[in-house]
Amino acid sequence: MWLWFHKLSSPPHAYRTAGRLRPWFFWPAILLLLIGTYGGLVLAPEDYQQKDAFRILYVHVPSASMSLMVYVALAVAAAIGLIWRMKLAHAFAAACAPVGAWFTVLTLVTGSIYGKPMWGTWWEWDPRLTSELILLFLYLGYMALRASFDDTQRADRASAILAIVGVVNVPIVKYSVVWWNSLHQGPSISKLAAPSIDPSMLWPLLVMMLGFVLYFAAVMCDRIRGEILRRERNASWLSEIAVGT
């Protein structure tokens, strides 16, 4: 993703490229999501233990892994923006945050819905769940900080510092939470341990994951164009585009 990103550091170029790439991400994403959904909901056999409830996995697992990936991408972009003063990287980070937060919420919600039939409770203070919740707070904090500056440049740099401090802390948070719980009570972790999964259940999951990634890319193309427009509203190349079309 980064190689792809690095080439287009000039806003007009990035704007056009994002526009051109968008359909290439969007339509395959829709296609994959449809296939995956069909595979997951219809083709995959019913789990002998979990019955149909397990099918929520096809949304839960991809969104969980996306929520983590997006935060890392955000922090890397923020660091690049801060160190090399690259405006586009800041724009990318800014565009990331709400999407990542959304994936996190989706994980929490689907997880809760999953948890009710599985564990008989909506919520459990399990390390994985707790650290996912903290991740949501980090996203929200990042967005709140960004929103409270009215000068884009300062918002960029301040929130970049937060993202970097956050990424230093994420492993600490993660391990502390694992430690904390494992000292108290061992078994709850095994609840989440992946059962060795049947291939007929697995392939829709992989398809869904790829679909999520592509969908994320497509959404980012849109969001980044929006960000660029907002930031460069005074630039001359924009009026050229506007006149041209």
Partner: protein, 228 residues
């Protein structure tokens, strides 16, 4: 000169504060998020087992609500005093107590009501059964009102002081204890399936008392803070 009537005045103050809040909509959700974060601190610090948590759940929710309300109070009057707006209000010839009450009401709308709305979610996380949600919400609705008014009196007293936030906590928390006790008690009773009318009535009575007497104290405190 046609000065606005009482109702007009109240509308004016509320509209202005809502506009300020919308300008910073992100700040409106912050007491809420603070409330959620503080309630998650306890499982981390105490024990993640839902059985254990359930026992102390009502207490935790109430303490968190109190702290969230307290934190948000700090900025209730300070900006207006620092930039001289409050001085102008005292000179406006309008009843200061009504204006401050309207301001406090807006504050409750923005910082108290959302807590009530989200309380079922937080209750669930702490293992409270869904049967107590209504009691939890009602007790919070009544209680946060009282907290806002008591807090506003404290805020008016401490606003002229630098680093007022800790002083504010110091003044206000002891006064707020009865609210905390009855609020937590109501939820606790509900959890054991007992009647909750007693504490809830008391909470309502306290709220009435504070709404009727509080504004006078606020206005008096504010006049002192502005004079200097």
């Amino acid at each position: 000169m046609t000065a606005p009537g009482l109702l007009g005045l109240v509308r004016l103050v509320i509209a202005r504060d809502l506009k300020l809040a919308v300008r910073h909509w992100d700040q409106v959700v912050q007491p809420l998020i603070f409330f959620v974060i503080v309630t998650t601190l306890f499982p981390l610090a105490i024990s993640p087992a839902l059985d254990e948590l359930r026992k102390i759940g009502p207490g935790i929710v109430w303490v968190a609500a109190m702290l969230a309300s307290l934190l948000a109070l700090e900025s209730l009057f300070r900006p207006d005093v620092e930039d001289g707006t409050m001085e102008q209000w005292t000179l406006s010839g309008q009843p200061l107590s009504i204006m401050l009450l309207a301001k406090t009401f807006t504050h409750w709308l923005l910082a108290g009501l959302p807590l009530v709305a989200i309380s079922p979610l937080v209750g669930t996380a702490l293992g409270l059964p869904s049967s107590v949600w209504p009691v939890l919400a009602i007790s919070l609705a009544l209680g946060t009102g009282s907290l806002s008014i008591l807090g506003a009196i404290g805020a008016a007293l401490t606003v002229a002081v630098r680093r007022g936030s800790v002083l504010l906590a110091l003044l206000v928390l002891p006064l707020e204890m009865p609210v905390l006790i009855f609020g937590a008690r109501a939820v606790d009773l509900a959890m054991h399936g007992e009647s909750v009318a007693g504490p809830l009535n008391l909470l309502a009575a306290m709220l009435l008392l504070f709404v009727s007497l509080g504004p006078i104290a606020m206005a008096a405190a504010m006049r002192i803070s502005v004079e200097s």
